[in-house]
């Protein structure tokens, strides 16, 4: 693999983006890749837009993904997928949680409509999922991030046991079974 695999993780503060980014980065390192994982935090608990860049491959230089070079955009919120669309390469994959969190700056009516079809029109391959509903079924609304990771895993060259090992050491024991279920291992 000459060029690194580039993943953008996007969402809203409190959705567990930083944890999800850590899990991907550690799985990449465990799998023998060079890796850089950048997170913009400081505002994470305050409902702001959150963005994380994860890159892995034989060698990774820039901690940030150049525009138009992301292979996959994983988004925990619809509007945030659109916000960071510019990072995607032509025909890139979008793994999108069909959840809408209305920003404090606008009314619910002003929330952009048809985000999914607009991204499809731009030529991206969109995989949409209602992770909130799936999370509820698994037992906690707080594991939307892990449900999306489970979908992302299908596109990445890491072994299932590597994911499992990393998840096991990333989440508290009492939530482990729930997280493994959400990921799709159990």
């Amino acid at each position: 693999m000459e060029k690194p695999i580039n993943i953008i993780l996007a969402g809203v503060g409190g959705q567990g983006i930083i944890l999800a980014g850590n899990i991907i980065a550690r799985a990449a390192l465990e799998s023998g890749f060079d890796v850089k994982a950048n997170e913009l935090h400081g505002m994470a608990q305050r409902g702001g837009s959150v963005l994380s860049h994860i890159r892995f491959g034989k060698i990774v230089h820039s901690p940030l993904i150049p525009e138009g070079e992301a292979d996959i955009l994983v988004s925990l919120e619809e509007l945030e997928s659109l916000r960071y669309e510019r990072f995607l390469k032509p025909g890139g994959i979008v793994i999108m949680n069909t959840r809408k969190i209305v920003p404090s700056s606008i009314s619910a009516e002003a929330y952009p409509s048809d985000i999914m079809s607009s991204m499809e029109k731009s030529g991206f391959k969109v995989e949409a999922v209602d992770a909130l509903a799936a999370a509820r079924n698994t037992g906690s609304v707080k594991i939307e991030n892990i449900i999306l990771l489970g979908l992302l895993a299908k596109h990445l060259p890491f072994k299932q046991e590597t994911w499992e090992k990393v998840i096991r050491s990333s989440v508290p024991e009492k939530y482990l079974e729930m997280n493994l279920k959400a990921f799709g291992i159990l």
């Binding site: 809203v12 503060g13 850590n22 980065a25 550690r26 390192l29 060079d34 890796v35 850089k36 994982a37 950048n38 997170e39 913009l40 935090h41 400081g42 505002m43 608990q45 305050r46 409902g47 702001g48 837009s49 990774v60 230089h61 820039s62 901690p63 940030l64 993904i65 150049p66 525009e67 138009g68 509007l79 945030e80 659109l82 916000r83 669309e85 510019r86 920003p103 404090s104 700056s105 606008i106 002003a110 929330y111 952009p112």
Partner: protein
């Protein structure tokens, strides 16, 4: 070979300090530098402490250095302004045990009030400065900085950036060196900055500069390419430069003062030289002395403000234009649901102040809708001074809003000045019992140390009274109407009045 682990730049700097055998770590929280001390508080067995501000943190570290032991002091870029006084003169007095000042800059001002470049501060103080490009280098250069500090007997600066501090990459942990032995010596001709000493000490510092340039040049490296275009890249800029392929020669600068001969040699024969550096055109200025074909910020090709990032050369090297950012509804951070500051701002707005001076912390978010409660925000602690100034011109009902941790950092001197000069202001100290914005660090008012142990405790209202304030009210901001009435009453009274709306941060409560 130890197994590589993922570490952020901040963690790698902290780990490097441990491996270098430090005996002390000090800091005041500030994004993007906070996690350096946090990592040390958790992992380093010796003393790792929050000071009330960066100035005190640096002075403590200087004291440790005088005992012959190694100390690290970390802060965000604007923290260095607060610590500038000890920094500038400690350069004259020098270091005994290795003394490292880590400063994390924030190009793009993701969580800061300005974009100042600490390399210029290091140059101003005539101190050597490292600028690593990734976490592995950050660890190595932290260790090298302590060696350099003891060899040249100077404090050393290490410049990080938001993107280095907060990017995780593989790092190989190494052995931890034992700490230096305690060796405090009196040395008045060197340790006392009085007129009879300083000019001589200044000369000594000047004489070190040439040797520092020569010694430090081993940290700057050249990779040759076939193209007649070359890139001089500082720190993380080198990671961006390498995105453009192997055909371009790259001079990677990791050390200041820069050995100019290295630049002269690199630029000779190149048709075009690009300079990629976050912050001010420090290297570009030097490069222009040796070549007329230098392009960067001074030439107008790259932005002088904001963050450069990996795409800065794309228009010139790849013919790639930056995509227009879509006009989308913004999602700014907001005060958390249930936050006491919400109640305080509601009450303050209802009281009808004429002008509200704000300060730095979570509560700065009160500037935005729906509160729009603040009229100015400058720097740590400035709310009180600005309120004094505005009120001094006869303006009534001026209110300063400051948080508990910020008040301790640099608001208390403003309060004393207000009392001394009989200012007519109302100071609201929003007390959430935490340094919340940077991740809920404890403060002297909570009496918990950085390591989570019981420390000494300072009373906020007691401190205000000791400053000479006779009108000190503590109130639960949830009682919004009561708080509004109180603010109205106090605004109409002469003198300095302190109101402390006290409600613990909801995240601290959960802990």
């Amino acid at each position: 070979m130890a197994k590589k682990v993922l570490m952020t730049g901040n963690e790698a700097i902290a780990r490097g300090a441990m491996e270098a055998g430090i005996s002390y770590a000090g800091s005041y929280p500030g994004t993007p530098a906070t996690e350096i001390l946090q990592y040390l508080a958790q992992n380093f067995k010796g003393k790792a402490e929050w000071s009330v501000n960066e100035k005190v943190a640096l002075e403590v570290a200087v004291g440790v250095s005088y005992t012959g032991r190694r100390a690290i002091c970390s802060m965000k870029h604007v923290g260095l302004n607060v610590a500038a006084d000890p920094l500038m003169t400690s350069a004259y007095l020098g270091a005994r045990g290795g003394l490292l000042v880590v400063v994390a800059d924030d190009p793009g001002a993701y969580s800061s009030q300005n974009e100042q470049d600490s390399r210029i501060f290091a140059r101003f103080a005539k101190l050597p400065c490292f600028e690593p490009s990734d976490a592995a280098e950050a660890k190595e250069m932290t260790i090298a900085a302590f060696v350099l500090s003891e060899k040249f007997e100077v404090p050393v600066v290490l410049r990080s950036l938001t993107r280095l501090s907060h990017t995780a990459s593989p790092v190989e942990p190494g052995e931890i060196r034992p700490e230096n032995k305690l060796d405090l010596k009196k040395d008045p001709s060197r340790l006392i900055a009085v007129p009879s000493n300083v000019v001589r000490l200044h000369k000594l510092l000047n004489e070190k500069q040439e040797k520092l340039r020569e010694y430090g040049n081993k940290f700057n490296t050249v990779t040759k390419g076939k193209s007649n275009k070359g890139i001089i890249a500082a720190g993380i800029g080198a990671a961006y430069a390498k995105e453009y392929g192997d055909e371009y020669s790259v001079l990677k600068i990791n050390f200041y003062p820069v050995e100019e001969k290295a630049i002269e040699k690199f630029v000779s024969g190149l048709e075009e030289v690009w300079v990629v550096e976050e912050g001010e055109p420090v290297i570009e200025e030097l490069a222009r002395k040796y070549s007329k074909k230098v392009r960067g910020k001074l030439s107008g090709d790259l932005n002088k403000e904001g963050e450069l990032g990996p795409d800065c050369l794309a228009p010139y090297f790849k013919g790639k234009k930056s995509k227009a950012v879509k006009e989308l509804p913004k999602r700014p951070p907001v005060l958390c649901p249930g936050c006491g500051h919400r109640d305080s701002y509601k009450a303050l707005n209802a009281a009808g102040p004429s002008f509200v001076t704000g300060d730095i912390g979570c509560y700065t978010l009160g500037f935005a809708a729906p509160f729009s409660a603040l009229d100015t925000c400058l720097c740590m602690g400035a709310s009180i001074g600005k309120a004094i100034g505005i009120a001094s011109q006869g303006v009534k009902k001026v209110v300063a809003v400051i948080g508990d941790s910020t008040f301790m950092h640099s608001g208390v001197t403003g309060l004393i000045t207000a009392v001394y000069n009989k200012a007519d202001i109302t100071v609201m100290i929003f007390d959430n019992s935490s340094t919340a914005m940077t991740g809920h660090q404890p403060t002297p008012f909570t009496g918990e140390t950085a390591k989570g142990e019981e420390g000494g405790k300072v009373s906020l209202e007691g401190l205000c009274r000791a400053c000479g304030v006779n009108s000190v009210d503590v109130i639960d901001p949830v009682k919004s109407e009561e708080l509004t009435a109180l603010i109205k009453k106090r605004m109409d009274e002469p003198g300095v009045k302190v109101i402390i709306p006290r409600k613990e941060c909801i995240f601290v409560k959960k802990k």
